[in-house]
């Protein structure tokens, strides 16, 4: 089962894709979100979003500059203030 992941900045919708897992840098610590995660709303600190396309493969590390992460029944939405180049 895939997780629907969306990354939005005020300027545009950066990513909208199906992934396996995303590790989000929350203010209270990093947390990984898989499909079917319980609803969470968290503030994120400046750091890196790590996107996994499968259990062992990292497809992207995206530097983000603070914002919010919301997990609901539709998937994970990250509202970031600014997004750096994916590495």
């Amino acid at each position: 089962m895939a997780l629907h992941f969306e990354l939005v900045t005020p300027e545009k919708l950066v990513r909208s894709e199906e992934v396996y897992m995303v590790v989000v840098p929350g203010t209270e610590g990093d947390f990984g979100v898989l499909a079917g995660h319980a609803p969470v709303m968290s503030v994120i600190r400046p750091g890196e979003l790590t996107v996994y396309s499968s259990a062992n493969s990292v497809t992207a590390r995206i530097p983000v500059e603070g914002g919010f992460a919301e997990v609901n029944e539709k998937g994970l939405t990250v509202l970031a203030e600014a997004v750096g180049e994916a590495a």
Partner: protein, 294 residues
């Protein structure tokens, strides 16, 4: 009757004006497309933020400890109007309409005995507001350096506003800008910026899913993070809408100007031809009567 030479000069001057207005129209059309794209691209963020705000606000009860940006200062004595206009003119009534909307709001507030202050964004509103309400502008934010509305600008304005709000400079802030309806229609609008006008979550709907949401760190701190951001987003949206509206208005104004110039050229050409014909006839009459006299 104007001389032939004068008419010719006028025609060529109107023609070159028409060239300029036509070029400006084309440029405005291209920029309009870019501006609407930017406005559309900014929509998902704003929509999601609004949804999050709504679901949070329904959970947090407004008390004496809740953030001031949400609850307000409890007074409404000093009202701040943030007026966002365009940077440039030549866009028909675009800037005037925004200023007019601001005036209506300001006069209304003054009539209620409130103190009104202005915060100006964009060059074109400054002069007009200063003329009508001298000494009431607290600050203005110059946007002329930027070619397009950037979120960084909105953020800067929001920070400044919030700092002033926290320093107790004003109690309520409204934002006046022009909503982009279509290339032909721009609606000047006034929205409440501070305290945040929280979208009322649909409480009647089944929102059981929401009840189980876990908040990290907790509702209040998230809300405290979110509110300043919301101010920035509102301003950013206003800037985007303004920009799109401005180019729409400019495109329209320039289209009209081009058409008017065309009409004028037609009229002048007819006059020119008539005058020329009259001159030829007179000349012929002179030659013939000269010949007859011999």
């Amino acid at each position: 009757m104007a001389s032939l030479k004068a008419l010719k000069n006028r025609i060529s001057s109107v023609k070159s004006t028409q060239k300029i207005t036509r070029a400006m129209k084309t440029v405005a059309a291209a920029k309009l497309r870019r501006a609407t794209d930017a406005a559309v691209a900014g929509r998902p963020y704003a929509e999601r933020l609004e949804a999050v705000m709504a679901s949070l606000a329904s959970k947090v009860t407004i008390g004496p400890n809740s953030p001031k940006l949400l609850a307000g200062t409890g007074k409404d004595e000093v009202q701040l109007l943030v007026v966002a206009t365009g940077e440039r003119g030549l866009a028909g009534g675009f800037n005037t309409n925004i200023v007019r909307a601001a005036r209506i709001k300001a006069d209304q507030l003054i009539a209620q005995g409130k103190k009104v202050r202005f915060y100006i964004v964009g060059r074109k509103g400054r002069a007009a507001i200063r003329r009508i309400y001298p000494g009431m502008i607290v600050a203005d934010h110059d946007m002329s350096h930027a070619k397009k509305a950037a979120f960084a600008d909105a953020l800067e304005i929001a920070k400044d506003l919030i700092a002033r709000f926290e320093a107790g400079e004003f109690d309520v802030a409204h934002l006046v800008f022009s909503k982009f309806q279509s290339a032909l229609v721009q609606l000047p609008q006034t929205i409440q910026l501070i305290p945040a006008a929280v979208p009322q979550a649909a409480n009647d709907g089944p929102r059981g899913v929401n009840a189980a949401v876990e908040y990290e760190p907790d509702e209040e701190s998230i809300l405290a993070e979110l509110l300043p951001r919301n101010v920035a987003i509102q301003i950013y949206r206003a800037l985007l809408e303004n920009q799109a509206g401005f180019y729409g208005a400019q495109m329209n104004a320039m289209d009209n100007a081009t058409r008017n110039a065309g009409d004028m050229i037609n009229r002048l050409s007819i006059q020119y031809n008539r005058t020329r014909q009259a001159a030829i006839t007179t000349e012929l009459v002179e030659i013939i009567s000269g010949a007859e006299a011999l």
